[in-house]
Symmetry: D2
Subunit: 363 residues, 4 copies
Amino acid sequence: MANSFGKLFTISTWGESHGPSVGVVIDGCPPRLPLTATEIQAELDRRRPGQSDITTPRQEEDRVEFLSGLFEGHTTGQPLAMLVRNADARPEAYAEMKDKFRPSHADFTYQAKFGIRDHRGGGRSSARETIGRVAAGAVARKILAQAAGIEIRAFVTRIHQIAAPWLDHFPTLAEVEANAVRCPHGPTAEKMIECIKQVRSEGDSVGGAIECRIRNVPPGLGEPVFDRLDADLAKAMLSLPATKAFELGSGFAGTLLKGSQHNDAFVAADGRVTTATNKSGGVQGGISNGAEIVFRVGFKPTATIMQPQPTVDLQGVPTELKGRGRHDPCVVPRAVVIVEAMAALVLVDHWMRHAAQNQTFKF
Amino acid sequence: MANSFGKLFTISTWGESHGPSVGVVIDGCPPRLPLTATEIQAELDRRRPGQSDITTPRQEEDRVEFLSGLFEGHTTGQPLAMLVRNADARPEAYAEMKDKFRPSHADFTYQAKFGIRDHRGGGRSSARETIGRVAAGAVARKILAQAAGIEIRAFVTRIHQIAAPWLDHFPTLAEVEANAVRCPHGPTAEKMIECIKQVRSEGDSVGGAIECRIRNVPPGLGEPVFDRLDADLAKAMLSLPATKAFELGSGFAGTLLKGSQHNDAFVAADGRVTTATNKSGGVQGGISNGAEIVFRVGFKPTATIMQPQPTVDLQGVPTELKGRGRHDPCVVPRAVVIVEAMAALVLVDHWMRHAAQNQTFKF
Amino acid sequence: MANSFGKLFTISTWGESHGPSVGVVIDGCPPRLPLTATEIQAELDRRRPGQSDITTPRQEEDRVEFLSGLFEGHTTGQPLAMLVRNADARPEAYAEMKDKFRPSHADFTYQAKFGIRDHRGGGRSSARETIGRVAAGAVARKILAQAAGIEIRAFVTRIHQIAAPWLDHFPTLAEVEANAVRCPHGPTAEKMIECIKQVRSEGDSVGGAIECRIRNVPPGLGEPVFDRLDADLAKAMLSLPATKAFELGSGFAGTLLKGSQHNDAFVAADGRVTTATNKSGGVQGGISNGAEIVFRVGFKPTATIMQPQPTVDLQGVPTELKGRGRHDPCVVPRAVVIVEAMAALVLVDHWMRHAAQNQTFKF
Amino acid sequence: MANSFGKLFTISTWGESHGPSVGVVIDGCPPRLPLTATEIQAELDRRRPGQSDITTPRQEEDRVEFLSGLFEGHTTGQPLAMLVRNADARPEAYAEMKDKFRPSHADFTYQAKFGIRDHRGGGRSSARETIGRVAAGAVARKILAQAAGIEIRAFVTRIHQIAAPWLDHFPTLAEVEANAVRCPHGPTAEKMIECIKQVRSEGDSVGGAIECRIRNVPPGLGEPVFDRLDADLAKAMLSLPATKAFELGSGFAGTLLKGSQHNDAFVAADGRVTTATNKSGGVQGGISNGAEIVFRVGFKPTATIMQPQPTVDLQGVPTELKGRGRHDPCVVPRAVVIVEAMAALVLVDHWMRHAAQNQTFKF
């Protein structure tokens, strides 16, 4: 079940970069939800390459098709399968990869693990695999929005060494989408874009960080002791290509404080309990406390660069490899929608789990 | 299954801080492994409070008892259950917690989620819950050591704002256990101890960071695309009390580099493929690459402090709470053994999963 | 997870016949349920040997102890662990079993599978393992009774070749417990008891069949397409020692009918839909339809008999083995409570699953 | 995960009778297995309607298409997804079913459970759903055959009241496929075919029984105590449409015997341990013992009949319904391949589980 995620709202993805298709099936989707392909497509379009001049010029149309689970425009509670055909395949661009391991890619480890690999465009390890996640995440987001007005907003806070200042409000979608780099702080966004263009001209690449905020989450989501909300968010984020780090709320910086500085005092407000500060990032003891959920994810620089790099071939003989084809010099802006999708999947699943144990029987 | 961890080597834990006991049952333990209670006890003794003058003076003997699964000193492949009785209970010390929510603890969220909670010593959210993890982790470590010479070593790299320099070798157990703070760099350890004593005298607390290294892991462990080795390590670590952050290899710092600086070149050495650097932290594409696995975990300052703090009670009325009893001003040194235990559990499980899919059938 | 059962109300059992203990931990138990050890003990006492002159004279007190998960007499939503110590161990009675495989027992297969086995009293394959199931089942039964008035009643319908007539009503507990063989048809029960006494005097054994009926189950429980209610009941029953067969509703006999004879016409009654007949046994398409659930389970004759039998030893050399010690010449009467327990576990789990998917979100 | 089956070799199916498609994705497929669409198609063709004059004349071409997981004719260890488009849709034939519940079908229970249903051709509850199972089962069968020469052969032993004599050998595929009813006993097969034609002329239907035998299974497959091999086979079979009963080895008939008659004596033969008889049906204590695995499955008469039947509509008002369209008067012959597929899925999964726990580490 390594290609499945979620215990009650379970997605299973399939597909390789240059195989026939990528896709996903959702098992456990609540019935009676109105749903159209347009809603899924909107999220896929945000993930798609070729959106701006700082992303790869590859044109992937990525049209989603429902394979099952809808009836008269509503979910039926049966498996909801969605398919995207692979179109823009240029396998010849990847011939060299057949025999040489690209540094800091998954070529070597897939070969070592499975004894066989589809080398074309990274095969299963390609970021195209996230298409299924985004499609399923679009369903999850709609459920959360309809059921409780829960909103999930991710945005870029740092590209390479250019960091945006702390954002003092929950950003609108328009603010995030206002620029190609998806940083809601305009002046910083301009510098980020400049940086990406610069490294691209050098044939190099950069990484960065994404912050995600979630509001209107009720207290009670998350399952102690292993399936904590923060633990499942961490797993979700580290399961994304190119991620190296995760932190919730105060994160690593919070570990530099004393308890008297770090603790979030409880206060009464509008007839409900909340906290005066939010170092906890909306999760305490693995369970949501009703405050805004805040976490950050670190993405390494794109492994594919347009410079010659030393490596070895399948026989372990030293050789050299230079990136070709069309690649993002920085994946972080496009990863924003993927981070949101995974967060939505975690939340819907935990909402269902919470309800099952705590609200099914009345004693 | 929120209290279970692992797909093939599965542990299920139970128990509260001041209930009758804490315990664990391992389902899927390989048969024929020689095992004694002494080996389990050795790890529990490292976790135990009251080991030094910088930890809580609570005396918990924490004697482990096998409940099942052993026959003539060997595992049988049947469930291996282990029990530790709770002894040093002083429930009266916690009476105030019944009605007041301790800031940055799980009191409020458990109450919100379950509508009932065992308030004594934090109940299920107490760090005593990790006893079962450590006991099961001791079995996992023995399996890894016997089967492949895999070694797991965690140690403290930072307490509050006192950071140790990068450790240029894989430390011995003796180096880690040489001081009360479990930092193998002696001069830094002294400052850390001083720091902890100082904050304790102020009735305050501090956090810090632990690094974990694992060597002799063969290439191939980890399951794309969701159950990546790094994703499961992240989940394991974020499932521990007081953790706020996780990073693998270069981590957040690596996201500041360019691809040309960050990529790990493959090189041939001694007839096998390895990497010239290890920014990847031993995992690429979610799968171990044979290099040392390196990750770090951030722990927040202990939430319980001996200072009055504002909070609310069960009715949402503002009140004040002051920590009592015996608490660690810093949990990081004791968490070292828990980090190691969780890492061992992840590795054994992935080893079994890898073998099942890739080595069971020969084609 | 071979020793776990249930997806949301999950039990994990441990223990061998002559090891330190048998036990169970429930993960996912709903919080706030009032619960006492007396309620668990009542079910264990029904399972216990030595209750009458047709069962084994072994005296096993089987006192249950709560290890965790209760607070002030209520469940807390945390793992609920229960322990029963093994007491009446006479390992010397089993010395011969160490080297010889008992026919139609699990000795050979455990040895073949695990390469080691606890031979004493059958070890893990002993029916003592079902103690944990009965204890957990008692919790499940209470939940079902409190939440919806669901009643589960199993009873013996056949011992060897002595079959009771079809029971035209839902029997009371008193009717079932009225005789040692747990057959609510008194005249048949007398013959059954006579039969068992006769085979015991011959040093032989017999099997039989149990019917289970469940009423007040609402329509909607059961998950297509694999986790059907009937499929999960079948698995639950075949997971019990000595079972060889399962049938729902009309069962094998129904396969002798034509569609026009077998179909259950829908009728309207008291403002709700029901069926005129119940060949379906209360389940259609894997989902409960509101009618009484009816199924039957076949138990083979006890494998241990007091007659010499040919077999082989660990080295594969032909030898002879004769049963010793104290054994039930017929396990069927004692299995009644175990069948009920497993049925309760299946129902609670499916109730929670149904609610999670279909009642958590309102669209 | 109700639409998934298997723990390590996991299939997830999707699709409705008259939706866009049916399909399946296999997660955990071993890598490096040579595989072609032709091999899958061969099994699908055996399942397909319209094969003979005793099945439905519906023509469904059911062409399988690989969506992912193959590279240069071999499995890669990545998810293997397969799709079959729905073609021969005549939704107008099902208009009446929109408002009326067909007796002994899943219409009422799906409506009750999900509050919405795709009524066309039974939607998800249609036997078309088994296409995915057969496609995945074809992969599983190939693995078993290549890895260990394991053969699985199901065949019809009874149609309505016409039973074939006990088959004293393991039948060849040719014997089973020699007639339209898939009963290897020719004279009985003729009577069965006559019977089916007769009930079809009456607008009625019949059921029957299938026996399945599996040879060359090594000892050791099956996981005590819940995931027994026989328990998982029982679940697999009861998860098929129209099944009502399962029995292993001696089954219900065996419960009429005494222990001295029923026990399978162990004997030494050709240097290995086997049993003189096989009442156990190849499984003891939930684990394969090396003998032939033998089980039987009971199928009820087809619920759709061409006679008027009383029922109720969506509002609970009494009405009448008469089957239309093209239906099998007996599903049993076509179910043979589905029984084989499910058996193959259970065996591959258990083989992988057994290897993972017992053969991964050497102590």
